[in-house]
Symmetry: C2
Subunit: 167 residues, 2 copies
DNA sequence: GAGAGATTGTTTGGATACGAACAAAATGTA
DNA sequence: TACATTTTGTTCGTATCCAAACAATCTCTC
């Protein structure tokens, strides 16, 4: 969406397909740029930081959550990572094969699975996260310093709205 | 990330894993909330608007680009949609099976493939896009009206930075 | 304590998603 | 005109990603 075309060109094209119908172009720009940004940032970080460790974006996020919160239940990891539990099963299989995570049944509740990091996983994250954060910092630097927290808050507000207005 | 935990809790956990190393928490919050928002918004719109037409997010975006710009070359659609050409081949196969798009070789350049919408595809988009935009509008409404265009511009700036700092 | 109901992680099936290798076509160069 | 180079869309292999169905386990109620 709106890749190489200007905003005005795109709006003009859309308007010509829908004579008379009112369109919220600001809302459209927010949502479409949200996705272009997320896509571009994910691909950028995957190529520059993650690929050399055989990590996908999602695999890194899952590893990050397990690293930060330690010995976590899968349902919590799935929620924190923003992925479904079905997806998590597959990602954990990958991370286990790479030797970064471990899985064990909970003794207290036989339904739960507890995820932990191996020594290799711990060592990786101690090196990788600071490097990853440096790239995050560079990306966020395109936003004026006084606006970054506000930006994060607005994104958070959109997330909450999307999650709570589903039914 | 940072699903149910507070920001302060998360920062405290991260700091405890990396004694001494400086971390840019504002940059971290921007990037992580960017992804939570994009994920949540995509899933929300897929469930509420797109699923009833058997459209995934990506399929809708591709259809939207072909609808707005009409008779487009696939390389242009891929770029505008923010996906690889390999992915586009698969998505177009799906859209063609659903009867929304057509494909034909360019007469001028035998390498190119031109994508167009069927009458069914046109009719769908004339109805579907205004409905989709209404949801976009509701999502963007969580941002103060005077900040929406600024937000879109900041997201656009991040996209450009990510795309141009790859090598 | 027995059985209905709820919760959890996995499997299944289908659709993305990418890079790399590829074949076809166009372009540049000698 | 040959022929190397570039461009384009597809195929291949692998990894996500989700909803729905499922089996195992726990909880609640009587």
């Amino acid at each position: 969406m709106t890749g190489s075309h200007t905003l005005a060109e795109t709006e003009s094209q859309v308007a010509s397909r829908l004579q008379g119908q009112p369109i919220d172009f600001s809302g459209m720009a927010v949502v479409s740029n949200l996705f272009r940004a997320a896509n571009a940032v994910r691909n950028h970080l995957e190529r520059t930081v993650l690929a050399q460790h055989n990590l996908s974006w999602t695999a890194f996020v899952v590893l990050w959550v397990a690293w930060v919160w330690q010995e976590s239940e899968t349902r919590m990891i799935a929620e924190e990572s923003g992925i479904s539990k079905a997806t998590l099963t597959g990602v954990l299989k990958t991370l286990e094969k790479l030797g970064f995570t471990t899985r064990r049944r909970s003794e207290k509740d036989g339904r739960l699975v507890i995820v932990g990091l191996t020594a290799k996983g711990e060592a990786l994250m101690r090196r990788l996260f600071p490097e990853f954060n440096k790239h995050e910092s560079e990306l966020a630097a395109v936003i004026p310093e006084g606006r970054r927290d506000e930006m994060a808050n607005h994104l958070r507000a959109m997330t909450i709205y999307a999650l709570t207005s589903d039914q």
